[in-house]
Amino acid sequence: MVKAKTIAVTKLCFMTLTVLCGFLSAAAQDRIKIELNMGQERPRIAVPDFKAANADPQTAPLNTVFNQTLWNDLDNAGIFDLVAKSFYPSQQPGQPQELQAKAWGDPPPNAGVITFGNLGVNNGKVDVQGWLYDVKNPGAPQILGKQYKEDATPDMARVIAHRFADEIIARLGSGIAGIAESQIYFVSTRSGNKEIWSMDYDGANQKQVTKLGSIALSPRISPDGSRLAYSGLTRDSWQIMMYSMDLGRTVAFPRNAGDNFSPAWASDGTKIAFASSMHSGRSEIFVADANGGGARRLSTGKGDVSPVFNPKTNGQIAWVSGRTGLPQIYVMDADGSNVQRMTDQGYAVSPAWSPNGLLLAFAWVRNYGPGVLGGSDIYLMDIASRQIIQLTHDGGRNDFPSWSPDGRHIVFQSNRTGNEQIWSVLADGTHLQQLTRQGRNSQPNWSFK
């Protein structure tokens, strides 16, 4: 009896304390409680076509471009379930007043959020109003409301769609920015010889960047997007070259003895790593300042190429070394110490470090040798656990992976259609799509933002 009483009293004290603590903390700031176990669903988003705001003849074609781009951007983002258009109610809103949230939130659309708006052309300018509404939360439905005004061209309609998509992803992507405004740089032969080209992340808007006239390879855009480093063939050797995106021309960059290949930026833009044979005549890893000065040798192996910084910390470098025969992936600290071999068989090249620093993508011929089945495929390795996942399967020779800034996509080169083209894929292996079709295109590099 005494025991029961003690327990009851203790309980009461505890309850009082809990209530008191609750009041105190509630007064201090907001508080959320979240329970977590496996299983999660992606936001279900409805994307009805934006309405034409007026009858201007330019409105309809621009609206078509806009709607298509917005849909593709949200679909490509890889974080949404897009509600199929056949489920949409007949009444589609162009303004918040026209939105019947219940019709969209209930089955069959069963959407969680809806984006809608209108587009109109006035005096050569395109006006876009867009909203993002939480249809299951009638108390505070609006998540986002935006207005854009640009020149009335299809390119600008696409840019507006990219910007609006990135705004949506910024809200619903829980801290990871969208990639709709990012660029991909690659090597293309369509001008006659290998030059650096650029395109939007979805393959649109392909443009030539360099006009070197010989061979330009391994483009690497700087973290701020202002400069493009690449390796170019000069009269007597390979050199690291620098192209200014702001000035639109190649700018001075110090040349070194021997051959210099495969530049790579640190994610803070202060350093460039590259492979050079200036010291011993054999390729080794060097790190220089962003202006090319103060080059320091990091590795002493033979045939060390393709360095890449860990973009999260810039404290590690992954690279390819042939010191044991066939090329393998290695990782070392940024000062050259603590060398670790990451792959132990086959033919592993082209490491690419994920933006969060956890994963390494690389091209791997797992069982290399004459008469052995299997081509070069893209693999992902979790660096901490050394777990390996195969990303591409049975599709010719795949090489040169590069991560998107959000860490959800990988762009790579593949000859699965017969000749080399650029493809992109979600990091879980889904949503594979071909980005280039003209000429031969290779060595893609995704911009930092």
Binding site: Q29, R31, I34, N37, G112, N137, A140, R171
Partner: protein
């Protein structure tokens, strides 16, 4: 006379013996009771009266509140007791009008008095009707108030989140949902000791600052499995940002991690 006296004496002698006997017996009786009483005291207490041997009585303190069964909040509108946000008034019954051809019964129907117009010094405008907001929930049809987009329950995902103060989660369900997703993505369950079979739960508490970065990550209650605690802590620490807070300077999140998933 002498005979009488002798007779009296004889009778007195006859009284003496029974009196002594009676006194003796009473004394023995009292003694016996006292002895019996002492003898019984050793294995019985005064408190045990009225109790059959072999039974026990336990007295429980009544706790501070009487346990009332909790009302289950259901998403089903029909089954929901929630009254919603706005109220709808019951419609006024239309006044029954007599048919046009009805003949009035004399004496029963009073002639309508013609009211004299009263002149008013101040004419006050009738109150303007307040338009019902489009997003208002009709009376009796409201869902759970703190159950916005994101609190959907699936087979694998049980529970959700509760909020204190300011209704952050109610207003920004999409943000809370994003936080949940992001942590889920960064929780690497292979870090947990694979031998765990029984369910364990780790409680983590952290703040999200204005720019969306998590800070002050702390283990609120250990699960008893160090590897689970650590994997949960790392899941939060791996994240740079949850995205800018839609409102306020800071929000505290209570997270709990169940492993293996129920």
């Amino acid at each position: 006379m002498g005979y009488v006296r002798a007779n009296i004496f004889y009778e007195r002698e006859q009284w003496k013996k029974p009196v002594l006997l009676s006194v003796g017996f009473h004394g023995v009786l009292v003694l016996a009771i006292i002895v019996w009483g002492f003898a019984m005291q050793s294995h019985s207490t005064a408190n045990d009266w009225g109790i059959k041997q072999g039974d026990a009585v336990t007295a429980q303190l009544v706790s501070a509140s009487i346990p009332i069964p909790k009302t289950e909040q259901s998403d089903n509108i029909v089954a929901n007791e929630n009254k919603g946000v706005t109220q709808t008034q019951p419609e006024a019954k239309p006044v029954e009008k007599p048919p046009d051809d009805a003949v009035p019964i004399q004496g029963k129907v009073k002639p309508q008095k013609i009211e004299k117009p009263v002149q008013q010094a101040h004419v006050t405008a009738p109150p303007r009707p307040v338009p019902t907001p489009e997003t208002a929930v009709p009376y009796g049809e409201g869902g759970p108030v703190s159950g916005p987009y994101g609190s959907v329950t699936t087979a694998n995902y049980k529970g959700g989140f509760s909020f204190q103060n300011a209704d952050f989660g109610g207003k920004y369900g999409w943000y809370v949902d994003g936080v949940k997703r992001r942590v889920q993505q960064n929780w690497l369950t292979y870090e947990i000791d694979p031998r765990i079979k029984a369910p364990h739960r780790a409680f983590i508490e952290f703040d999200i600052t204005r720019d969306g970065s998590p800070s002050n990550v702390r283990l609120a209650q250990s699960s008893g499995v160090p590897s689970l605690d650590q994997s949960a802590m790392r899941a939060i620490q791996r994240i740079d940002s949850f995205g800018k807070l839609p409102e306020g300077n800071s929000v505290t999140v209570d997270f709990w991690f169940d492993y293996p998933p129920k």
